[in-house]
């Protein structure tokens, strides 16, 4: 049953993509209903059969493998404090594993630790350490393949190549785990929480650091990512592609190699997240590439090389966000259209908005800009003269990167001044007609259901 991502992609390529997966989905669906009803009947009607087994060094059951062999579906295995070695724990029964005081499962840099291959499995309260790097397949602390109703909570993963690896999984909760690894180069590092072709995931309150990507989503839909902290990962704090209708809330992405990348996706909601200090040669707070019909609200972008880099994105509402002390607050490529920047605060950024063309099909209105030098005679809180959030030089640098040679030179200062007075090159339509005189008050706790 163990198929890797590569094999599946091969299949996708070879087969007719629509027919086969939908057939598989139906089979999967029937199977799942059967499993749920089976376990439910067991729990409700035959409670006596759901036994609890204890594992410890002095117990009859000395290790998890023995316990797993002994247990019946829907049993609970209670693991006491200790260090457990051995082969990969392959779970093919619906079992609840509970660790007391975080018993340690040590892969000793030889094998993966837990591989879940059936539905209704809970793994709670373990410490999983030392899953090795392998160039042939992805070795993880916890692998889940083709399953649903999985709960992975309160675990500590240390030095695992991949942390939690979900493939073809639905209705899974990953909560309160902490995943820390020390990777040096991107090539032999794995992702913290890696999800591929899943739906209805709930990734909440996890802490991820030192992996390649903190949280990685590919073909994951209708999922919720909340209250996670992802920091100091080599590449992205959060990386997701082809993952529609997901929602991200209250997460904090800090100090990642390249920030957060969101690509090829529709209907994403990002609320109350913090993108902080993703600083480096090509780092972004948030990279939006081919994103559409999405909502970005009440986020904080602070000290990123580029706050938001937008490419080929459309119909995104960007509102009530705060951009502070970024190199570029927003890089709005000409390939973006119908995006709406409303009520955002721009403060202390080196460049506010840069674009690479003369055509701007986006709306920028009613934002606060600290560089605004206009006045408000009628005292309605809206500046009487429009604000141009891009400077001539910001445009130049976007189009001809080598003009960075003249950065902060006197001639550039003069040019920008002149352009402010008599605009000639900066796009006419890149303009905030109603700039605010005062900062928008953002409530950091606004949560929309």
């Amino acid at each position: 049953m163990s198929f890797t991502k590569n094999v599946f992609i091969e299949k996708l390529k070879n087969n007719r993509q629509i027919v086969i997966p939908s057939a598989m989905l139906i089979v999967n669906f029937i199977f799942r209903i059967w499993m749920i009803s089976f376990c439910g009947i067991m729990v409700i009607h035959i409670p006596l059969t759901a036994a609890t087994h204890t594992v410890c060094a002095d117990c009859t059951l000395k290790n998890l493998h023995e316990a797993l062999d002994y247990a019946k579906p829907c049993d609970t295995i209670l693991v006491q404090k200790g260090i457990y070695h051995g082969e990969v724990l392959e779970i093919r029964k619906s079992i609840t594993f509970i660790g007391q005081d975080h018993p340690i499962l040590d892969g000793q840099e030889k094998n993966e630790l837990i591989s879940v291959k059936t539905n209704d499995v809970n793994i709670i309260g373990f410490q999983l350490i030392n899953a090795p790097f392998s160039s042939s397949r992805e070795m993880a602390g916890i692998n889940v393949y083709n399953a649903s109703n999985i709960n992975i909570s309160n675990n500590q993963l240390r030095n695992t190549c991949f942390g939690i690896y979900l493939a073809n999984v639905t209705h899974c909760t990953v909560q309160n785990n902490s995943l820390h690894s020390v990777s040096d180069i991107e090539l032999n590092a794995g992702n913290g929480i890696h999800a591929w072709k899943c739906d209805h995931l709930n990734i909440a309150s996890n802490e991820v650091s030192g992996h390649r990507d903190g949280i990685y989503f590919e073909f994951v839909t209708k999922s919720l990512i909340t209250d996670n902290q992802s920091y100091e990962n080599l590449r992205y704090g959060l990386h997701f592609m082809f993952s529609h209708e997901d929602e991200y809330r209250n997460n904090r992405f800090e100090n990642n190699g390249a920030g957060v990348a969101v690509m090829y996706t529709k209907k994403v909601t990002m609320l109350n997240n913090q993108f902080i200090h993703n600083w480096g040669d090509s780092a972004y707070g948030l990279l939006l590439k081919d994103i559409s019909d999405s909502h970005i609200e009440n986020n904080i972008f602070d000290q990123n090389t580029i706050g938001i880099q937008m490419e080929g994105s459309s119909r995104i509402v960007i509102t009530n966000n705060t951009f502070t002390f970024n190199g570029w607050a927003v890089q709005l490529q000409a390939s973006c259209d119908n995006n709406n920047f409303l009520s955002n605060n721009f403060n202390g950024n080196t460049f506010d908005i840069a674009t690479n063309g003369t055509l701007v099909l986006n709306t920028i209105n009613g934002n606060y800009w600290d560089k605004y030098e206009g006045y408000d005679l009628d005292k309605d809180g809206i500046g009487d003269v429009p604000y141009r959030p891009t400077s001539l030089y910001a445009m130049l640098v976007s189009e001809m990167p080598f003009t960075i040679m003249l950065w902060r030179s006197f001639v550039v200062y003069l040019l920008d001044r002149m352009e402010k007075v008599i605009p000639s090159i900066t796009p006419e339509s890149l303009i905030d007609a109603e700039p605010l005189m005062k900062k928008v008050k953002h409530d950091p706790r606004i949560t929309t259901p």
Binding site: G280, G327, E399, M400, P401, W407, S409, F410, L414
Partner: protein
């Protein structure tokens, strides 16, 4: 030579301009560094002073000093002294005076208030700019006997290096933007001491991350430990060449 430098320095200290200059730098640096909470920001605002004021004061001061010392030079020429030594003593005297002013006015506050890698680079490149523009001033001074003309040439040189050159480069980059100019830009930078000094400082600041691929090239070329030596070397060439020309001209000059 040391003796003449001593008298040159003595003469410079007699007029109060150098002291005013020191105080000006001191006030500006202290206020900028204490107003900005972020030390890097303070360094960045000082950068503009360094790039505009320092070359201007250096070149004008040195030129005026040269013409004011004409009598002294004449007096020395009739003595058993080598001409090149007389001119170099003047040069070193002015340079030492300006460097001291810079050291007290900018270097000291930076070291005391915000000593970082960037601020030490600011000190280095400011010092080099002083040396370079004093050198240019001497070159401008020996090519003409007319004080007004000499100051005019000096101001033009300053104007050229601070503004015109960059404008020309911008035009050039604009016209040839279809070509990969990243490498050419390195050369353009080296051909203007002000640009060189600016890049040296910017590379040491956090914001260098905004410089992209060109910035990476810069870093590789002028930024690393070895690169700092290269960029310092380029600046020293800018200092040595004009004063060498000045000595050559001065050696054949009729007084």
């Amino acid at each position: 030579m040391g003796k003449i430098i001593k008298y040159v320095l003595y003469d410079i200290l007699q007029n109060k301009i150098i002291i005013a200059y020191t105080l000006f730098l001191l006030v500006v640096s202290v206020s900028m560094l204490s107003l900005e909470t972020d030390t890097n920001k303070g360094t960045l605002s000082l950068l503009n002073i360094i790039l505009i004021v320092l070359p201007l004061v250096s070149i004008v001061f040195a030129t005026i000093h040269f013409y004011n010392s004409y009598e002294f030079i004449e007096l020395l020429i009739a003595q058993p002294l080598q001409r090149s030594k007389i001119l170099l003593s003047q040069y070193f005297g002015v340079t030492i005076a300006l460097l001291t002013a810079f050291g007290i006015g900018v270097g000291m506050p930076l070291v005391l208030l915000s000593f970082t890698e960037a601020s030490s680079m600011l000190i280095l490149s400011g010092a080099l700019l002083t040396v370079v523009f004093t050198s240019l001033a001497f070159w401008a001074s020996v090519i003409t006997n007319d004080k007004a003309k000499g100051i005019g040439i000096s101001l033009l040189l300053w104007f050229y290096f601070s503004l015109i050159y960059d404008g020309l480069v911008l035009l050039l980059l604009f016209s040839f933007s279809d070509y990969p100019l990243e490498k050419a830009v390195m050369v353009f930078t080296a051909l203007n001491p002000v640009d060189m000094g600016r890049i040296m400082i910017l590379l040491k600041l956090d914001i260098s991350a905004l410089m992209g691929y060109t910035g990476a090239l810069y870093k590789q070329f002028f930024g690393s430990g070895y690169g700092t030596i290269i960029s310092t070397g380029v600046m020293l060439v800018w200092a040595i060449v004009p004063i060498a020309f000045a000595v050559r001209i001065f050696n054949r000059k009729d007084l």
